[in-house]
């Protein structure tokens, strides 16, 4: 992601103080544990002009849930202001930077998985697809029910592993049916889960984050590393 942002001419900073947005605890009902971590996030990014995040889920946490989690916090107004400055990567490129072609080249067949928070909390369906269609030599093959959950759901995937795995079997069946080389998405967590099931079932399809595809160009190191790993 950093490479792509730099390629389109932006200055990228990575505040090394950052840790987590707090979502794991928040989603587990442990709001009192999530709160200090979220407050920390607000402070760490207080001076950042724009925050770009390679995850629909983390972005949704900050944008949709911080105002609720921090409702009684002294940092509430900072959190609300921050929520307006945080963007998911594909959203930022297409809607904010107005870039739909980042000059990537990825000579492979790819299918796209709509991650739930990206789609239903942030309403982003077309942005990642626009970016993918503009990648040179990439063939995008839509799967059946691309918007059905992969079953990850954070702590859910270990607390209710059987349901989570069953959901992913259905998802991976739809991925396999497209006969592509790669499945991509805007959330690493979905890809981690999907990848785990694909590998277990011996599927040749490999997971890759959208950012890694967009970073790929004939002379790019990231893409080569990802593709050949």
């Amino acid at each position: 992601m950093a490479e792509v942002l730099q390629r389109i001419g932006l200055d990228v900073f990575f505040p090394e103080e950052q840790t987590c947005c707090g979502q794991p605890a928040f989603n587990s009902g442990q709001w009192q544990e999530a709160l200090p971590v979220a407050e920390r996030f607000v402070r760490v990014f207080a001076t950042a002009e724009t925050i770009v995040c390679p995850s629909g889920s983390c972005t949704a946490m900050v944008r949709s849930f911080y105002p609720e989690l921090l409702a009684n916090s002294p940092l509430r107004s900072d959190a609300e202001a921050l929520a307006r400055r945080v963007f998911e990567f594909s959203e930022f490129l297409v809607k904010v930077a107005k870039v739909t072609d980042v000059g990537a080249d990825f000579p492979h067949t790819v299918t796209y998985h709509d991650s739930c928070h990206l789609l239903r909390e942030l309403q982003l369906r077309t942005e990642p697809r626009i970016l993918l269609r503009n990648v040179k030599n990439l063939e995008l093959v839509e799967m059946l029910r691309s918007d059905e959950c992969c079953g990850f759901g954070g702590v859910f995937s270990v607390k209710f592993g059987m349901i989570s795995a069953a959901m992913s079997e259905t998802k991976c069946g739809n991925i396999d049916a497209t006969n592509v080389e790669f499945v991509t998405s805007c959330d690493s967590s979905c890809l981690l889960h999907i990848g785990g099931i694909l590998k277990k079932t011996g599927s040749p399809v490999r997971p890759i984050h959208l950012a890694s595809i967009l970073a790929a160009s004939p002379n790019s190191s990231t893409a080569a590393r990802r593709v050949h790993s």
Binding site: C116, G154, T170
Partner: protein, 471 residues
């Protein structure tokens, strides 16, 4: 862990990998999905229709007491009886009392989830009253001695050969798997019940305040037979079923039908205002309406989740839910299954016993996306989780784990260290060949999935190195 939670996990384990079950449900949902999409396309503006329905129900809830009293006044002015039941027991006992007073031996029922909620049938049967479910799906699950699998399609988990086998066992004379012939057999059997039935019990899809009528939607016509042939008709409904005006049905009826089954309207849309009048030739002699609270007024008090009472029991959220599709309706162990059941049941039957359902979700939001009355279902699951933690209804180990997590996340140094440790540990587990075995600390993950390939370096390490080099 509570008994209900243990039972849920046991059944979920059983059903999640039951491929026959998965296939049967998939087929059912596939045909629902295509009908639902077609149904929505018949609206000039489906989203506006959803908004309108949400507004109607919100208005009804905002003056629930007034509309209910208005409904009662109109019903009683026509000679009907209205009974206010605070809980299941009061509701059940009222029905039994009416049955006893009128010497009732046989009851015919049209589909009603509220009677499931209050466990009416066992009480009537215990008192020697024969009870017939007359909705085909309900009849099938009654023959199997099972609760409904799905609030709208109670026998969704069965295919035609399951049903043929069941009918052969319980009724006899089945020669084929042909649905038409199976339906004809059930119809002949149920006709006998209708003629024997002395009391009809129905639900109500809506209670219309301004005209004091109940609205019932069915597809088999059994609702009309149940409410017009027997001497007595008792309609049972949750208090949240009230709507202000008759004209509201102009939007609610098609939206309910579309959301429920993809139909434009259900085959039979019935309005009932009371018993037979002097100048009428048929209809029941008595008309009763039981208004059930059973925890609903407390939910009305909950400003965060009040919108749950807008629910019109269309079942769309069950169909859209990938959890429901994999674990199936019976795994929930509740009257109302799926997302609405997971949200509602803790309010009806206690957060302590039923909070696990709110955790059994990936929070994908497909339920909220499909809900025709715009209930914020998946966010309510999150709130239930928070409420369960705050009321001390979660294991102390969870609290401890997240206290540790917080400690780790409040320091980038600790975050980095534990990230590094985790990667090393996973590498060691793999090198020792323990990945996916019970000795794997990640077993809960690797039992079902291959262990992830983490890169040797984290992004942070790469960034810091490049940054140092450029400086």
């Amino acid at each position: 862990m509570t008994t209900a939670a243990q039972e849920f996990l046991r059944k979920a384990d059983e059903k999640s990998f039951d491929l026959r079950h998965r296939k049967t449900i998939r087929q059912g949902i596939d045909s629902y999905e295509s009908a639902h999409n077609k149904g929505k396309s018949r609206f000039s503006d489906w989203e506006a229709a959803r908004d309108r329905c949400a507004q109607i129900k919100a208005e009804a809830l905002s003056r629930l007491d007034q509309y209910l009293i208005q409904f009662e006044e109109v019903v009683t002015s026509r000679g009907g009886y209205v009974f206010w039941a605070a809980n299941s027991e009061e509701a059940r006992n009222y029905v039994l009392e009416v049955a006893k007073k009128n010497n009732i031996k046989t009851v015919v029922k049209s589909k009603s989830m509220v009677t499931e909620e209050i466990h009416l049938n066992p009480l009537l049967e215990k008192n020697g009253i024969e009870v017939w479910e007359t909705d085909l799906g309900e009849y099938i699950v009654q023959l199997r001695n099972e609760p409904p699998y799905h609030i709208v399609t109670p026998a969704m988990h069965l295919n035609r050969s399951d049903i043929a086998k069941l009918f052969q066992e319980k009724i006899g004379g089945v020669q084929t798997n042909d649905p038409t012939q199976l339906v004809a057999l059930a119809r002949r059997k149920l006709r006998q019940a209708f003629f024997a039935g002395e009391m009809g019990i129905s639900g109500a899809n809506f209670l219309v305040a301004d005209c004091g009528m109940i609205a019932i939607n069915t597809n088999e016509g059994n609702g009309r037979l149940c409410t017009s042939l027997p001497r007595i008709h008792i309609a049972m409904a949750g208090i949240e079923k009230i709507i202000p005006h008759l004209q509201d049905l102009a939007t609610l009826w098609p939206v309910l039908a579309t959301a429920g089954t993809g139909q434009h309207l259900t085959t039979y849309c019935t309005l009932i205002g009371g018993a037979r009048r002097n100048d009428e030739v048929d209809g029941p002699e008595q008309f009763h309406v039981v208004l059930l609270d059973n925890g609903r007024t407390e939910l009305l008090d909950d400003t965060e989740q009040r919108d749950v009472l807008r629910c019109i029991r269309c079942g769309a959220c069950l169909n859209a839910c990938p959890i429901f599709r994999n674990v199936g309706g019976h795994t929930y162990g509740t009257t109302y299954q799926g997302p609405i059941g997971s949200v509602l049941t803790p309010h009806l039957r206690g957060l302590k016993e039923f909070n696990h359902l709110s955790f059994a979700s990936s929070l994908c939001g497909a339920c909220t996306e499909i809900c025709p009355v715009r209930i914020d279902l998946h966010h309510h699951l999150l709130q239930n989780r928070r409420n369960a933690v705050n009321s001390g209804n979660r294991p102390w180990t969870e609290r401890l784990a997240f206290s540790f997590w917080r400690w780790m996340m409040l320091s980038p140094r600790r975050f980095r260290f534990f990230g590094w440790l985790g990667r090393k540990l996973m590498k060691a587990v793999r090198m020792l060949g323990l990945s996916g075995t019970r000795l794997d600390p990640m077993y809960k993950w690797t039992k079902y999935r291959a262990a992830p390939d983490f890169p040797a370096q984290s992004f942070r390490e790469m960034w810091m190195r490049n940054h140092a080099a450029n400086r």
